[in-house]
Symmetry: C2
């Protein structure tokens, strides 16, 4: 069995939004796989802000994608050939499959793909039932410890992670304020997801609106965007507030690093905690999250949307949608 694989490799490190010319779309022949390996035909790719970070040579939680390496990305696919007893042809697998049509995995821990049940739609698997949902779940619940009646602020609230975090906060009886861009996203958050207040950063001044809405202060800030907004929020935190740093999408495509918040002193006055976290640390106990999220999905308490682009050739443009606010829901691409 031989297949022709099309894959995107990194040609040079991008500057700002990615350009097609930062990559090469090349073809390779996969004639056979080695003992212990599996061959996966990718179905859907997941696009996440963190992918943009992997393309830089800055130190991160995973090594930078090297020049000439396939672009790293999560996704889901089907095993089409297996020389590993743990996998059989037809298994659906999820993990870091990359911007390519086929993925050869050594099945070693660092390349391990997880077998997932073939009963829910793949886009849902990659969204609320994947790392996106697990990130929101553990960040909010385990680190944020939301209590009934507390005020939870979420930036990037219409994003894949933000929208799950916002709804989990509602399930915990919190007053939830979301910040999102544009009428469509804000409307969805309010009307479909039942978020209490939504600030449209594209059509209003968050700095002005925030104090009007967060009249009881902010107990939890689930931060997906970083940047100057963090400083604005710190002024309004309550005693024992928890600031959860989940991402900093505002800075991933920027070459100028913006200064940090100059009011960190307020963390002392308010005995507040600012904490960064990564979903990687929670994957070993992902099952707890998935069980709860599945139940909420079935009870209709958790809404989700996937924005599905098509065609491997559109990978670079699809990644950019996350940074221009074009994506409406979890960004995926169907190969």
């Amino acid at each position: 069995m031989s297949v022709t694989n099309q894959k995107w490799i990194l040609k040079e490190r991008p500057n700002g939004l990615v350009k097609k010319s930062d990559f090469d779309l090349i073809e390779e022949e996969i004639t056979d796989i080695k003992s212990g390996e599996i061959l996966v035909k990718n179905s859907y790719l997941s696009f996440d802000p963190t992918q943009r970070m992997w393309l830089t040579d800055l130190p991160g939680y995973l090594p930078p994608v090297q020049i000439d390496e396939v672009v790293r990305a999560g996704g889901v696919g089907e095993v089409v050939k297996s020389k590993n007893d743990d996998y059989k042809v037809g298994d659906l697998v999820m993990g870091l499959v990359g911007w390519q049509q086929y993925c050869v995995s050594s099945c070693k821990p660092e390349e391990r793909l997880r077998i997932v049940p073939n009963i829910v739609p793949m886009p849902t698997l990659l969204n609320v039932l994947g790392t996106t949902g697990i990130t929101a779940y553990y960040g909010l619940i385990e680190l944020g410890k939301p209590k009934k009646g507390e005020t939870v602020l979420i930036s990037g609230a219409a994003g894949a992670t933000g929208s799950v975090a916002a709804q989990i906060a509602k399930i915990h009886g919190c007053k939830v304020i979301g910040i999102a861009g544009g009428e469509k996203k804000c409307g969805w958050l309010k009307e479909e997801c039942g978020i209490d207040h939504v600030i449209d950063y594209k059509n209003s001044d968050v700095k002005v609106e925030l104090p009007k809405i967060a009249t009881e202060g902010i107990d939890i800030y689930f931060d997906n965007v970083g940047g100057p907004l963090l400083e604005d929020v710190i002024w309004y935190i309550n005693i024992n507030a928890r600031i959860l740093l989940c991402g900093a999408i505002s800075s991933y495509t920027s070459n100028d690093v913006s200064p940090g918040p100059m009011n960190l002193f307020n963390l002392i006055i308010k005995r507040a905690t600012m904490q960064g976290f990564l979903v990687l640390d929670y994957l070993p106990k992902a099952e707890n999250a998935i069980n709860d999220i599945s139940a909420w999905l079935m009870e209709g308490k958790l809404k989700h949307i996937e924005d599905i682009q098509e065609g491997l050739e559109n990978c670079p443009d699809t990644l950019n949608r996350l940074f221009t606010g074009k994506n409406y829901g979890k960004q995926l691409l169907k190969i």
Copy 2:
């Protein structure tokens, strides 16, 4: 019984270091006290960086000292008249007694003075056995959770709180790096307190020295100074690092607020926590701290120095000593 009280009241809000002309040293006659009140003759005043914050009109954890109010400060004194059954003449009391010779306390919760045993020297009571020691104890142990072999970095390490935190970290088996100003302070930390490494910020470039010394990264940063140093430290934190914000002495006399650290993103990569705290929250369980600290003092494991100025007229100059690095040990003033 009538006494003449001399007291410093705030005349105008200071700008940078305080000037005598920001205050007035006035006299008042205290002819009698009301039922429930006590009259205390102050013996020692404590000078702490936070006092400078109380003189501004910025929102803080205690209300700003108002114009014409006596300057707020901790201290210790002796009850010389009591109309309150909880106190008797001769009791030694500690609390917010102010820059004055005598203090009338209503003994209500917000003005409550704590009776302290008359067996240890008053300067020690105000230093390691007072809020200074309690701050270091709970900040480091309860929030920092130091583990044997971890690297603990402490700024303002020769200061009253910093030096206790540094020694408690040593008691917990950590590798301790202190940052302090000048040969005398650095020598004391190394030779007397047994701190592993000391960086003299007055005679070397911390940015250059830190990576050479913190070769295994930083697990706990006990921050007393804030400002640009925080950004330098964030580059070297380890996974699961804890940054404890205890104070920001570098900014208390500054009119220009310096920008915050632009590398907060590293808190995500390192799953690190940055947490502000105030000793106020730990006073209800101060006894645990005092018991442990007393034992360490008796075992000779905890060194401390007090810098004792004299004369109520020198209050403003004594406060400034904290911000010019002149103080050598806990800053006190004997009235």
